[in-house]
Amino acid sequence: MTDYLLLLLILLPFIGAMFVMSAKSDRHYAVNNVYRVSIWIMAVDIVLLLYTFSFFDVEKNGIQLIEKYQWLNNPEIALLLGADIFSMMLALSINLSLLIAAICTSRDVLHPKTLLASELLFISLLNGYLFAADIFSFYIFFSALSMPLIILVSTYGNQNKKNIFKRFSLYNLIGATLLFLALMLIYNLKGGNIPLNTIGHLNLTGTMQYVVWFSIFFAFVSRLPVWPFHYWMASINATLKNPLVFLTSNLIPLTGLYGFMRFWPNAVPATIGKYAPLFEAACIVTMLFISLISLSHKEIRYKLFAYTTVYCLLYLIGVFLPTGALKQNIGYSLFAYILIITVISFVLSHIEEIKKQLGLGQGILCYMPRASQCLSLFILAAIGLPVTPLFWNNFIIVSEIFNYSLLLGILVMLSMFIVALALLEELYRLKDKSYAACANINNIDLSKTRFIICMISLSILFFSFIKPLWFVF
């Protein structure tokens, strides 16, 4: 079984998605069944991930647990799977956060079958993307990842979803086509499929190196909310109400980040690398603008989106730094970041739902002590309370940025500060008693189960703060 662990991690959610799709949707018990099965599959996937960790040499760098599956003989394409500590951490945090979101999402949603089947498909493809160890597997999962997201955005987007769908699909298609072009050029140059970790040994020259590297660059940028490519993401992510869909949509930029992580550091030649400051400038402009917009925006959902964007770009700048030592830190920080967003997202969904039901606005947290505690704790953790690995690792990343460029460091800090201010301001509004409308409101708080889940998440983060890989035995 150990020879097929990674494949199993991809196939299990895929089979689950097939099961969910084949279930009847017209009966209440069938929907409940679909939920139970989906949650169990996600849970088993996490157990399998933890089991996979036990075969992992955490001290060792590079790809481990290599699995090879022949696909086509001519042209010869074999799917190569493998994982390193970074991809394992990312897979664990994403699986865990989607499980939490699935448990905490209200079951009274539109098209629950579509939601859960797409989520399981997304998990399967994302696991595949994180464990892809050769250029073709990487491209296949990179491109296929947009499929479940297209379905989710089209089903749960806002009124403008038709146009968003078209824009989103075209953006992704352009990115995927560019990546495919670059990979086919590499394929032809090398005479076959190559492992991802040998990308650095490519001897590309002349125009070819520009075509290949800029195609790869734009392919990954198409998944990131960087100016001037940011518009589609803002129009989608900031409008999604369902926490599971919001989370999934916010994980997509991480796929672009992961792509850069796999392709860029130490692989890109100096002739291309010299353009990196231009991209860093674009990142910092985006960070500043989006944080300033979030400050003026009234919607807390938008503020959360701004927060995720700023932090995602922070990690991206970290990836682009000439030092290659930050990979592990970014991995640990991302682990906490994803869990924090998950919890904030579902608590916010609960608050928004109550606001909509009761027509209440600010000060609502005064009547929801559990939600108030959760939201306060996690917002503080998100902006740097020293209880999670986010604190340590972001500290190191930002220090390295300062080390690299003082101006860049100041601007990064400034945008992080503004976005933190925006979140705290909203938290204050939600907690401010002077805005509370009436006092006779009962049973609107988070359920005990959800509260316990928040606390478990916080415990996981706290243990990771003390020892990042505490769950590896």
Binding site: N73, T177, N188
Partner: protein
């Protein structure tokens, strides 16, 4: 004698099928499904004997081999679906469909002979017969409206056939031997500088470009799909392109190859024009059949571009792309058969509105077909995309590659519009109940796309081996 009869069993089966249909007609059978079942039965018999005697022949004018078998099996497969689905259309219209079934069997016979022949005279005869047959198929549109366009198209077709005949006449004047592929190739090799010889080769090529609908010979391509009845449109989208492409490849490699240096740039020009025209046309139309016709033009452009290098790798890639695109087009036609409201088959993009709500299986085949056409991995279209890019990079045709990729995105935009209508628009029409057999065909088509993707039993490699027999 007996040996000859046995070798001719695939052709004889088709002829018996036509006779059987005629007898049923004389016996006043009134069910379209019966005619369709009979036609499909004889088609299966023909396919069975083709597999059994795949390299046997009753005349030296034909040279069947694995290559011809591969194409015959493929067109046989699509013909089976076309015949099966047409019966529902004819039943809904209270028509027999007898003539249609017989014409399809006759078309298969023509295609089979065109594939297997090594004589240009047989090829010409079959081409003429095929045009007559296709003209009759287009005449099955019983609206009885006189279209002034028809007369013009008739004269264009006739001119092209006359050009074909002139080319053959000139070449036959250059030799006393029978007009076999080998003889013509020798003439073209020895007289490659002669203008009449060159023009003769051009006159032989044009009819195929015309029938395939390659720009600038695409005059009838859109109307074949758009003005014909649904079963005829289905025939033009699936059977005709794959069959004619098989013949065209063979003609180019076994007859026209001495002129490849002259033909190649012209093919590239036609191919890129088809790509551009096809992609723009898809975006400009709202009739689903016409959209499909333009998408076909786009893909045929890519196939011609790959053929223009006259290399084994790119030629095989052109075949594979043709197969995958025709599978996707077939999937689209399954959707067209499914969108029926109060007995009327709908044909506009707006008629797809709300499809996903009502017909999830049909919407699934639509999305799979369209994503496959767009080249989304791991669907079959991804393999096509890979072969195209790989083929063009290996030939260092970077400009062509750029043009194709750009118009790929233009084509994808139209595909996304269709998905948008099916999944996001509100329902405008109440669809009729879906036929169970249609669902069977939907699954069959998805299965075929899956077979291409998952490559069980090395099916792709087997097809490749069969294709490469052409180079032996």
């Amino acid at each position: 004698m007996l040996k000859n009869i046995i070798s001719a069993l695939p052709e004889i089966s088709l002829l018996i099928g036509i006779l059987h249909l005629w007898f049923l007609f004389l016996a006043k059978t009134e069910k379209a499904k019966v005619y369709s079942a009979v036609a499909r039965f004889w088609l299966l018999v023909s396919l069975f004997f083709s597999v059994l005697y795949y390299d046997k022949t009753f005349t030296s004018l034909l040279q069947p081999n694995s290559y011809t078998l591969l194409f015959y099996l493929l067109i046989g497969f699509f013909a089976y679906i076309v015949l099966g689905l047409s019966s529902y259309w004819f039943s809904a219209k209270n028509r027999l469909g007898c003539r249609y079934d017989a014409l399809i069997l006759l078309a298969l016979l023509c295609f089979k002979l065109m594939q297997e022949t090594v004589s240009l005279l047989v090829l010409f005869a079959c081409y003429v017969l095929l045009n007559v047959m296709e003209w009759s198929l287009k005449g099955l549109n019983y609206d009885k409206k006189t279209d002034p366009e028809n007369a013009r198209l008739f004269w264009i077709t006739l001119t092209i056939i006359i050009l074909f005949a002139l080319g053959l006449l000139y070449l036959s004047s250059q030799t006393t031997a029978p007009l076999s592929y080998q003889t013509i190739q020798t003439i073209l090799t020895t007289q490659s500088d002669s203008l009449p010889c060159y023009l003769s080769a051009v006159f032989i090529t044009i009819p195929f470009l015309y029938s395939l609908g390659i720009v600038p010979f695409h005059i009838t391509a859109e109307d074949n799909a758009g003005k014909s009845i649904l079963p005829v449109s289905h025939y033009f989208a699936t059977i005709a392109p794959i069959a004619l492409w098989g013949v065209f490849i063979k003609l180019n490699l076994q007859v026209l190859s001495p002129l490849k240096a002259d033909f190649s740039p012209v093919y590239v020009l036609f191919a890129l024009s088809s790509v551009i025209f096809g992609a723009l046309g898809v975006n400009a139309r709202i009739n689903l059949y016409r959209i499909n016709a333009y998408a076909k033009t786009y893909y045929l452009g890519i196939m011609l571009l790959l053929l223009s290098y006259f290399k084994a790798q790119t030629t095989y890639a052109s075949f594979l792309i043709g197969l995958i695109s025709v599978l996707a087009f077939n999937g689209m036609y399954l959707v067209f058969y499914s969108i029926k409201s109060r007995g009327e088959y709908l044909a506009t993009t707006a008629s797809l509105s709300g499809l996903a709500e009502n017909k999830p299986y049909t919407a699934a085949i639509l999305i799979v077909s369209l994503f496959s056409l767009i080249g989304m991995p791991p669907l079959a279209g991804f393999l096509a995309e890979m072969n195209i890019i790989n083929g063009l990079i290996s030939q260092k045709s970077y400009i062509s590659l750029g043009i194709i990729l750009f118009f790929w995105l233009v084509l994808a935009k139209a595909g996304l519009e269709l998905i948008k209508a099916a999944y996001f628009e509100h329902r405008l029409k109440i669809y009729d109940t879906e036929n169970t057999l249609l669902i069977f065909y939907i699954f069959l088509n998805i299965l075929c796309l899956a077979l291409v993707v998952f490559n069980p039993f090395n099916i792709i490699e087997t097809m490749k081996d069969m294709f490469y027999v052409l180079y032996l």
